[in-house]
Amino acid sequence: MSDTKTPTHTPVEQTKFGKRAGGPVKWLDERVGAAGVARGLIRKVFPDHWSFMLGEIALYSFIVLLLSGTFLTFWFQPSMQEITYTGSYTPLYGLEMSQAYASTLDISFDIRGGLLMRQIHHWSAMLFIAAMYVHMLRVFFTGAFRKPRELNWVIGVLLMVLGLIEGFAGYSLPDDLLSGTGLRFVDGLIRSIPIVGSYLEYFVFGGEFPGNEIIPRLYMVHILLVPALLLGLIAAHMLLLVYHKHTQWPGPGRTEKNVVGYPVLPVYAAKAGGFFFVVFGFTALMGAVLQINPIWAYGPYNPSEVTAGSQPDWYMGFVEGAVRLMPNWEFTTLGWTFSLNVFIPAVLLLGAFFTAIGAYPFIERWVTKDDREHHLLQRPRNAPVRTALGVAAMTFYGVLWIGGGNDIIATQFRLDIYAITWFCRVMVFVGPVIAFIITKRICLGLQRADKEQVLHGYESGVIERSPDGGYSERHTPLSEVGQYELTTHERVEVAAPPPAADDRGVRVPGARKARRHAFVSKFYYGDVVDKPSRDDVDEARHHAGHDGHELEADEEFRGVGETGVPRSH
């Protein structure tokens, strides 16, 4: 350390690069006045953690989608006009098919790099939505959606829903047998809406399914309407991110009023720019070596044909699963058919699922009555009920996924498809409850372990034998940073139920509402293991000094460090 030279500083305008770039930059700044904005942005500080980069995967996948999608529009013909295929894929040579399908075959077999681009486009679509989900899970489990970020959470949910629509529209465009079957699924979904369903179907498809309109319409939705909405909402999402500043993990020196991290230039420009190329390269690699959506194998769409293993892309798999699990409830009254077997699992569930996600920050606000701003993240264990609710929702989603792939699971694992369906029918209700209980228990256990570490130190790996032959492991006190990080979260207070009547027996106004709130507050925080107080820590320290059970991490120490790495090596 002592031989490090003091860095010398040369102002950028005096460097060789600065002298050359100065002229053009000045010219530009005098005309657009960007320097003021740019100065703020390039000095903006972001905190550093790998989980903050999950949303970036989604953003970069979206850029890859725009680039590869533009390439595909040069050759794709969004038309349901019947033509005879004369391209180079011989097993379909001479077949009548729509122009949309024929042009997709041309992109796959007769356009140089077309198949690669198609596969990159499809893989990055899958990654786009998957990355949105993992990003959303990160935000959820760390409590990053709390005030002031509730609105950005809602924008995120909208982005997710639009991503599903965009993905589905794109999946339907090639007009192959699989995508046509998927469209038929959506047709059924629309028609299951009571009373107005069949009118809506005629409106969307321009007549009876499949008609001649749907591909051009979906094309417009896919390349113009939804991408424009996505772009606008992504811009709003990012602007709010800049305005709110990024959340950070708690630690020494990090407060609700600052952001500890590195500036955009040069650190994050390099990191994020590099990560963009990692994402692009990874997607290109997948497009090059992994086949996706082999439309030539499915053949052109024909409403009288269907293939085993017809599935939607993964992000619609949970809706597919819900429909497969639903019992066949349907009735007809006054000439209207009510297809509850499709309406409940497809339309209602899809709506309820995203509404619940979007509403969650407001529900939690109602429970906590917390109106302060939060810029420090919570560890998932310190919000046990929220974490457990999240895992329960993931379990619900996962069971529906299994239900959606029941035929593939049946053939691959030699199982009975009905057995899988019945298993899922039970687990879709029981599974989330089990997951909730287990997760909450794990969180509470981790909280107890944290408390134990703060009070009595961590396990040092040093085993001692007492004079009477017993073995015990010595503990070592945590460093102050370690103690701080485990105790920096807030102490939670469970709202106490007010008395229903005052001491003169008069009913307290609003008591019922307050009691209801006290009930949910207890549900959320009743079992939380509270962090030790300063007095607890002092007392434990005092106690430890007396019986000599703790081992100081001094020069003589030969145990393991706080991270479990042996010190002596």
Binding site: L115, W123, L127, M286, N293, N302, T411, D416
Partner: protein, 273 residues
């Protein structure tokens, strides 16, 4: 001539004429009938060999006369094989489905227990019980250049993919039953399966799909299974389920690893030695 004319009213004359007629007719038949006497005995020998094999390996379920064995509560241990034809036996025994290793929802494909000759003998025996679909000519099972692959594809998508999947990867059926994968199934067995309808499969008689169309279907299946895997590793032809698995495990998994790597190599993160 006088010998004959004198006895033409003899009481036995009518019988003699009748006998003569029968001998002439029988003689003519035996010389003009299509099968030669040598082949006849070879066939008979093959049928007999087949019967012996049947009594050892099949009669336990199908009965000594191949008429099936009924179970006490309805249903049967083994169905009657009278009239199923040589094609059905050739398919079931040739693909190893019969004899059953154990009683299950469906007989799985496995290495055949009988040699080609023994299979032929069993087929001949069952075919001798009653007429049924015969083993098809190679003309229809070994598709040559005249097969119309595109036409076969249309028939395949209309009639087969609903159970067997668009690339013949197989599919699930209710109650633990399944449509088996079609990769490396020979054309003969595909044809026999179509005309006999083994297990869950319906029969596609020649009146429904002509032999030429059957040949085209076989040609399509072969051409698709022989084509290179355009676009890379295909995930078993299982479609979007395996694609979703790839995007989560390889895609998101790999990118999260990359994110952790970038996060761990920050500007001021120094590796501690």
């Amino acid at each position: 001539m006088r010998f004959l004319s004198r006895r033409r009213r003899h009481p036995l004359a009518g019988f003699v004429v009748l006998l003569l007629g029968l001998v002439v007719a029988g003689g003519l038949y035996s010389t003009l009938a299509p099968r030669s006497a040598g082949a006849d005995t070879a066939d008979a020998r093959q049928v007999e060999t087949g019967r012996q094999l049947f009594l050892v390996g099949c009669a336990g379920c199908h009965g000594k006369n191949a008429a099936g064995i009924l179970a006490a509560k309805g249903g049967n241990y083994g169905p009657s094989l009278v009239g199923v034809g040589a094609a059905a036996v050739d398919f079931q025994v040739g693909t190893g489905r019969m004899p059953l290793a154990n009683s299950s929802q469906q007989a799985p494909r496995k290495p055949p227990a009988y040699t080609a000759e023994e299979t032929a003998a069993l087929s001949a025996y069952v075919a001798s019980l009653a007429p049924g679909p015969a083993i098809p000519d190679t003309e229809y099972t070994d598709p040559s250049d005249e097969a119309d692959v595109t036409n076969g594809g249309e028939f395949f998508r209309t009639n087969c993919t609903a159970c067997h999947n668009s690339v013949g990867a197989g599919g699930a059926l209710p109650g633990g039953r399944y449509a088996p994968p079609l990769d490396d199934v020979s054309g003969k067995y595909i044809y026999e399966a179509m005309i006999t309808g083994p297990q869950q499969m319906p029969v596609f008689a020649d009146s429904v799909i002509t032999p030429e169309d059957k040949r085209d279907i076989i040609a399509y299946i072969e051409s698709v299974s022989e084509e290179p895997r355009y676009g890379g590793l295909a995930g078993g032809g299982l479609g979007p389920v395996s694609e979703g698995l790839f995007s989560w495990i390889i895609g998101i998994g790999g990118l999260v690893v990359a994110a952790i790597w970038i996060g761990a190599h920050g500007a001021r993160v120094k590796k501690q030695t």
